[in-house]
């Protein structure tokens, strides 16, 4: 028997895996365009710390002299990026999934603990639902970044027709800088995302493909309580039917759940310096 948690709805998996190659195409074709006037750098006066981008970078990716190709790809796949993103946001809003993704009151404070935990500076992690606080903030910010890319992109694509938008963004040249900066941020998001997925392991990765997350085998499955035994019998007869927990089981499950969570909570309370001070007092 396997105990699994339904993690990512089918729709979200589709949005995710469509967006992955499309965003890659947008960033890459954007580079083909940017190369034609690659004036941005980080530095001051004559001092340049980082040039966007060094010639070796262009050479390695075969970027030079492909402006026309970059523009045609960019202005075709922008539609897929925009439509996929729009449906995704609508899905979040209407399915209620937004509650699991948008940050709540505690998220900012908790996200610091999560980051410290990920950097191995802090052991316990605050209890979380589908996403931890840092994920909530990152995944919400990235939605706004996508929206920002669409707006800044539109304002440099059609600056006369949408002149009000272009002015609002600080004019044509500022909008181009903003569009570029968002692309850099997307790339950084992507790198951190990939690293985190690698560190978190297979179970997490496969849940974005299969939709379910495998929970560790629990005692409750092994204890031959009458309800579970019935369920196993059922399984023998009709192994192909999904056995959803009956009311009995879910209450049973609920009990076990609190049992397994409780010690964790105690631990984190003991380790949390804030809480410790409180109890001492």
């Amino acid at each position: 028997m396997k105990k699994v948690e339904k993690k990512h709805p089918l729709a979200i998996r589709w949005f995710h895996w469509i967006n992955f190659p499309v965003l890659a195409i947008m960033v890459w074709s954007g580079l083909l365009i940017y190369w034609a006037n690659d004036i941005y750098r980080i530095g001051w006066g004559d001092k340049t710390i980082l040039r966007f981008f060094p010639d070796s970078f262009y050479k390695a990716l075969n970027i030079p002299f492909r402006l026309a190709e970059g523009m045609s790809l960019h202005f075709v796949f922008m539609w897929v990026f925009a439509i996929n993103g729009f449906i995704y946001v609508m899905y979040l809003l209407f399915s209620g999934e937004w509650r699991l993704i948008f940050p709540n009151k505690k998220s900012l404070k908790e996200s610091i603990k999560v980051v410290l935990h990920d950097l191995h500076l802090r052991k316990p992690v605050p209890p979380q639902k589908k996403y931890n606080a840092a994920q909530r903030i990152a995944y919400t910010v990235v939605i706004f970044m996508g929206f920002g890319s669409l707006l800044t992109g539109l304002s440099i694509y059609k600056p006369v027709q949408f002149h009000a938008l272009t002015s609002l963004l600080g004019g044509y040249e500022w909008a181009r800088i903003e569009h570029f900066t968002l692309t850099i941020l997307f790339t950084l998001f992507f790198l951190v995302h990939i690293l985190q997925v690698i560190f978190t392991g297979w179970n997490n990765f496969q849940s974005m493909v299969t939709g379910f997350f495998v929970l560790p085998a629990e005692k409750e499955v092994l204890i031959p309580s009458p309800v579970i035994a019935n369920q196993m019998d059922l399984n023998k007869k009709e192994p192909d039917i999904d056995i959803k927990p009956t009311e009995n089981i879910s209450s049973n499950k609920g009990k076990n759940f609190t049992d397994e969570i409780e010690p964790e909570k105690n631990n984190s309370a003991a380790d949390d310096p804030d809480l410790k001070i409180n109890t001492d007092e």
């Binding site: 523009m71 202005f75 509650r99 044509y172």
Partner: protein
């Protein structure tokens, strides 16, 4: 929604479900790769794969709806205009050229061409325009131009029938550089047949004696040294379109 939805399934069922999901995932990846290859294996239309070209043309249909005569490119005070104007591109300007003998060839219809001198063009109402000139490469520059609005020019030369057509075509005297422009953009109130830059006659490298200044298009459409002007319901040939760029190139 707030509670994790936990279910218990048999190991066999779990394996089957995982297997199926990964098969579908693999099919998705393979389909994406094939789609990408399919796009690039399609025949080119003017330097861009046919499917991309189709979408670019659809983009033109979509975005040209937003082009209105009242949508003006932002203008600036004269003091904002740069003194050293960037020179980008000399295609069509390299042949030997007798500036004194120049006249604009206005083809009103095939077989009906009239020649117009620079003095005649300068006699028409003059319009000055300081705007942010935008190159398709990504740079832009606030520059100062003056000339006659194409719409005023069309009025003066009774081009009513011609401006009902869909496109205007412009070519350099040596026919090396050529552009095609949709009529709504050509008739836009900021489109100039331009003969002055920074208050002086155009330099040779900026298209003396007459060039197009069309703020609703990228620089590639702002043809220098106009030799011939004609009209068509088909897309006139366009230098950069033939090299993979969007025909419309509107801003």
């Amino acid at each position: 929604m707030n509670d994790k939805e936990v279910i218990i399934i048999s190991s066999k069922k779990f394996r089957n479900k995982s297997f199926l999901a990964f098969i579908l995932f693999a099919i998705f990846i393979i389909a994406a790769v094939f789609f990408w290859k399919w796009i690039h294996n399609q025949p080119d239309v003017a330097g861009a794969p046919k499917p991309l070209r189709k979408v670019l043309n659809a983009n033109e249909n979509f975005f040209s709806n937003f082009l209105k005569d009242k949508h003006l490119a932002k203008t600036y005070p004269l003091s904002a205009a740069v003194k050293r104007v960037r020179v980008n591109g000399d295609i069509g300007l390299k042949s030997s050229f007798d500036t004194a003998a120049w006249k604009l060839k206005l083809v009103r219809s095939p077989g009906d061409t009239i020649l117009i001198s620079l003095a005649e063009i300068k006699a028409l109402p003059k319009t000055e325009l300081v705007f942010n000139f935008k190159c398709i490469e990504g740079w832009s520059q606030i520059t100062d131009w003056a000339g006659v609005k194409f719409s005023d020019f069309a009025k003066k030369y009774n081009l009513n029938a011609q401006t009902q057509m869909q496109y205007a075509g412009l070519e350099t005297p040596d026919k090396e550089y050529y552009v095609g422009i949709d009529m709504p953009s050509m008739m836009h109130p900021q489109t100039l047949l331009c003969y002055e830059m920074n208050g002086k006659p155009l330099p040779l490298n900026q298209g003396y004696p007459l060039r197009l200044i069309i703020p609703v298009k990228y620089g590639i459409k702002n043809i220098k040294r106009i030799g011939t002007l004609y009209f068509s319901n088909e897309r006139p040939r366009d230098y950069w379109y033939e090299r993979g760029y969007d025909y419309y190139s509107g801003l």
